[in-house]
Amino acid sequence: MNVPRTAAAYAEEAVVVLDGVTRRFEAGNPALDSVSLQVLPGESVAVLGPSGSGKSTLLNLVAGLDRPTAGQVVVAGRRVDRLGEAQSARFRRAEIGLVFQFFHLLDELTVLENTALPARLAGMARGTAVERAQTLLDRLGVGRHARAYPTRLSGGERQRVAVARALVNRPALLLADEPTGALDTASGEDVKALLQELHQEEGQTIIMVTHDASLARSYASRLIRLVDGRIASDVPVLPAAPADPGAPSGAFR
């Protein structure tokens, strides 16, 4: 049961705090305009909106890939808008996992090498990183492709690898930018089920950008709608009717 909280209580516990964030590019209207929001640990937030509404910009700002023109961005208690490039990279690999629409796997590395990469960059010993990556790949159902190159995999499999890579450093926050946007329907469902289970079973905090409202509603615990760079609505999603307890899990099959 959700108990109403004060803004201060949110800010204290929140994994993500955006306070009056504006991002203006060279010309035209701001991509984000005075956006404020908080995300609590364990929340699964879907950010919805039409093309150009500022969804990806918001995600980039939270990930520290971009900097706001005005306002503050706090993630896991740190002002990411104030971090330098190197600090931002270190922070990202420790606290944030990123999943992209087009996977952004490195074609020259194997699935296992792709997955272990953030851990290796963080200085983890090769053996430990590879072991952790292999465990994750096995859990996400693509362990048998560990030695293959990403180009050999289907879209859904590639996105599973991308999720495994995002989780390898056990981040506080998983950011997914249209993770199903480049997938066929079945693969898309598969990936969404994976994200839902990560949230429900692992308590992983997730912010997912998508433009598919009905799908977002079925997997997220909270929906934020952006229109022209502003938050048009921010509502919780009521829990769906419990599924058949005897049915097998879709993600960790």
């Binding site: 270190r90 200085g123 090769r126």
Partner: protein
């Protein structure tokens, strides 16, 4: 503008940095090629080229003015077989003493000619520095005599009436060595020593002058028109040619080696830059084809994108090439002792034409490949390298216990083998050139030291039979009048001088030297014997064998062995002027080029009764040379001897010219290689922008990004160094002895084997350092890439 033109314009303007780098690389590569070609051309028969351009004299004749009037001599210009002539010019032979920057130099006897201007139908003298004489009190020295002297120096002629001092206003060069110095005709008359008969110089070119006989025939016709005995001396161009080939020969292999390296590097860089520019446009080519561009249109558009900036670079490169070739050719002028050398016209046409042809080929071949490729394939290939290339090697690298970013960087060259191979080769050429240049300079300096060290023995020299007028002086200045000694040194005289030197406070020791003309029975009628007293170790660099251990053993230069058909270990019989026969054994071969290499070095007692004519005195540490010379000089003056500080006239001009040529050529080749690395890394960063974005998105720090980019080129630089350094050493070891042979000598091992292990390692690392230097800017760009922007890159 046509759609094609739009694509080309957009392709260039959207990638300004790439276009500028392409243009810059083509420019530097072409400049290097122009300079290298120009140098190689002038290195081919430099004497013949200079002879043709200066209208060198086939015959230089000197006539006695007392027997033949200038009018009569002038008339010989119309002799049968004479195609052109110059003169008669008044000519005097004078004993000169030069002064330059506070130091005085004794000059050999100078042949001074009065000429109103340097030009003319024969012997069109080239003024290398300063200007031609314009009035009285001025003199122009020939390059042969100007070693170490520049305009502004003065020359005093004590033989001439009034002891005049003339100011050197220019340095000039005559390919056929018609004079040692030039003055105005009026000055020449004024310099004529009182009571001597005037002499005139006449310069001839004949219709037939290919052989000695033809020149002699021409000379006979000329002299036949004059009273008997008028001709007092003559030289022909064949002698000058022979002399020139001996002195310029050493330069040819070294300049050709540099030229070939420069050309090869330039070619590699052009191939790398242009094909890289087209190759990275493959994805856009796919887009253009998908939009309906025909293969021909695509080929034209993308070939033009590479061709336009390259063509501009090539044209600018010709200009730059001429600019940088100018000082290099000036050094070659000094080295070859030829007149003004220029980049030939056809070089300025042929080199850019060849460069453009290479550029066109490099642009068209990948463009044709792209043209043939189906649109979807071109789109799929994109700019990123094909996955899976060098898979096993990269997996091996990834497994090494090294940071991930370094492992990733090391694997990069394997994904684009062609691009990185050309860069590795360019770096290898750079390392090879650097190694060769360093070795060359070490060898040249070693040889230069070796050649001169015997003359620069000790701290103070004592002449036992100093010519009248000599003054003892210290501080590196020489006040020794050059000329025949007044009288032979007697045993008593020598003993007195040696005693004075021994008793002088500050003397650590001395070596005595005596020179005399001797014969080698059945081998040579006249060679110079250099007889040493008290020389326990060799003042010369020994090529083979050992220093003498007592009388009856001699050392000789290479040319002596070649001329007499002897070798180390052979016995020969020497005959001195008194007719004494001494049988000696050749125990060593030394580096010595004076006296045409016809010397015999021996212990003085080999010829009993030999007294030293010169002492090389070593001083005790802390002894003031100037006061020592002054004090010793006071004691020596009554004995007819003089002391002076060891003359140090600095490094030979030709060695300096070679050193600076080596420096400039190395800089050029290394610069071109560096530019190639810069271009490659820039292309890599641009082509891998999205990939770099991914790395950064998953947490790669800027420093790790730099490490990744750098480790690729550092590895390449080390590999290139590991290949280039031994290759440069091999080239050095091959070329240096050839240069020595061209100069008529073998070389001591110490001057050939100049590299040591530390140097070799440093040189290998220099390849990596060059790569790091060249890659630092693009690696910095990679580190500063904005992640979000990079991820959006197609």
């Amino acid at each position: 503008m046509s759609p094609l033109g739009q694509v080309v314009r957009a392709g260039i303007s959207r990638r300004r940095i790439a276009a500028v780098v392409t243009c810059l690389s083509a420019m530097v590569a072409t400049a290097a090629a122009v300079a290298a070609t120009a140098l190689m051309i002038v290195s081919s028969q430099p004497f013949e080229h200079a002879f043709a351009s200066q209208q060198g004299a086939d015959l230089t004749a000197s006539f006695d003015g007392a027997k033949a009037t200038p009018a009569l001599i002038s008339a010989t210009a119309h002799a049968s077989g004479v195609s052109s002539s110059a003169g008669p010019f008044a000519q005097i032979t004078l004993d000169g003493q030069a002064q330059w920057q506070g130091a005085e130099f004794g000059l050999p006897v100078l042949n001074v000619v009065g000429r109103p201007d340097p030009g003319g139908p024969v012997d069109d003298v080239t003024v290398i520095a300063g200007h031609w004489v314009t009035g009285p009190g001025q003199i122009v020295l020939s390059t042969n005599q100007a070693d170490g002297l520049s305009p502004g120096a003065t020359v005093q002629f004590s033989d001439a009436p009034g002891d005049p001092t003339l100011t050197v206003v220019g340095i000039a060069q005559s390919v056929t060595n018609t004079a040692d110095a030039w003055v105005t005709p009026t000055e020449a008359t004024a310099l004529q020593p009182t009571g001597s008969s005037p002499e005139y110089q006449m310069l001839y070119r004949f219709t037939q002058a290919g052989t000695d006989a033809q020149i002699l025939a021409g000379q006979a016709v000329v002299t036949g028109m004059l009273p008997p005995g008028s001709l007092v001396g003559s030289t022909d161009y064949l002698a000058a040619q022979l002399q020139a080939s001996g002195s310029t020969g050493p330069f040819v292999p070294f300049i050709v080696a540099f030229g070939v390296l420069g050309l090869a590097t330039a070619m590699l860089i052009i191939i790398n830059v242009v094909s890289g520019a087209v190759g990275s446009a493959l994805h856009k080519i796919g887009v253009l084809k998908a939009l309906g561009g025909t293969p021909a249109q695509v080929v034209r558009a993308y070939a033009m994108i590479a061709l336009l900036p390259s063509a501009i670079g090539v044209v600018l490169g010709v200009v730059l090439g001429n600019v940088i070739a100018s000082p290099m050719l000036h050094n070659a002028e000094i080295a070859y002792n030829t007149g003004s050398l220029n980049v030939t016209g056809w070089t300025d046409v042929a080199v850019p034409a060849a460069a453009l042809a290479v550029v066109a080929l490099c642009a068209v071949v990948p463009a044709l490949r792209a043209g043939r490729m189906p649109a979807n394939a071109a789109l799929a290939v994109g700019r990123a390298p094909r996955p899976g290339r060098g898979r096993f090697a990269r997996r091996f690298l990834a497994g090494l216990p090294i940071p991930q970013q370094v492992g990733l960087g090391l694997g990069t060259p394997l994904t684009r083998p062609a691009r990185f191979l050309s860069i590795a080769l360019a770096l290898a050429f750079g390392a090879m050139t650097l190694t060769f240049a360093i070795g060359l300079v070490s060898s040249l300096n070693g040889v230069n030291t070796g050649i001169h060290q015997a003359q620069q023995l000790g701290d103070v020299n004592v002449l036992l039979n100093a010519p009248a007028g000599s003054v003892s002086s210290g501080g590196g200045q020489v006040h020794i009048k050059i000329g025949p000694s007044t009288s032979p040194v007697t045993p008593a005289g020598a003993a007195a001088v040696e005693s004075a030197v021994t008793q002088q406070s500050g003397t650590a020791g001395y070596i005595g030297e005596s020179q005399q003309q001797i014969g080698v029975l059945g081998k040579a009628s006249s060679v110079q014997a250099l007889l040493y007293q008290g020389a326990a170790t060799s003042p010369y660099q020994i090529i083979s064998g050992h220093w003498y251990t007592g009388p009856g053993q001699v050392l000789v230069p290479t040319r002596f062995l070649q001329s007499t058909g002897t070798s180390v270990g052979d016995s020969i019989t020497l005959v001195n002027s008194a007719g004494t026969h001494v049988s000696v054994t050749i125990v060593g071969e030394v580096l010595l080029l004076q006296d045409s290499g016809m010397d015999v070095i021996a212990d003085a007692p080999t010829f009993p009764g030999t007294e030293p004519t010169r002492l090389f005195v070593s001083l005790k540490p802390g002894t003031d040379e100037a006061s020592y010379v002054q004090s010793l000089g006071n004691g020596l003056d009554p004995l007819g001897a003089a002391a002076f500080g060891n003359p140090q006239r600095g490094t030979n001009q030709t060695i300096l010219a070679m050193d600076s040529l080596a420096f400039v050529l190395t800089l050029l080749v290394v610069g071109v290689a560096g530019l190639g690395v810069f271009n490659t890394v820039m292309l890599e960063v641009r082509d891998r922008t999205r990939e770099l974005g991914i790395y950064k998105a998953v947490g790669m720090t800027p420093r790790q990004t730099v490490a990744m980019v750098m480790s690729a080129v550092v590895a390449l630089g080390i590999v290139a160094g590991a290949v280039g350094v031994p290759a440069g050493m091999a080239l050095h070891d091959y070329v240096i002895p050839i240069m020595g042979h061209a100069a008529g000598t073998n070389l001591p091992a110490a001057d050939v084997q100049v590299f040591n292990l530390v140097e070799e390692i440093l040189l290998v690392l220099a390849g990596a350092a060059l790569a790091v230097l060249a890659a630092s800017a693009p690696a910095g760009w990679a580190a500063r890439l904005r992640t979000a922007t990079a991820l959006r890159t197609e």
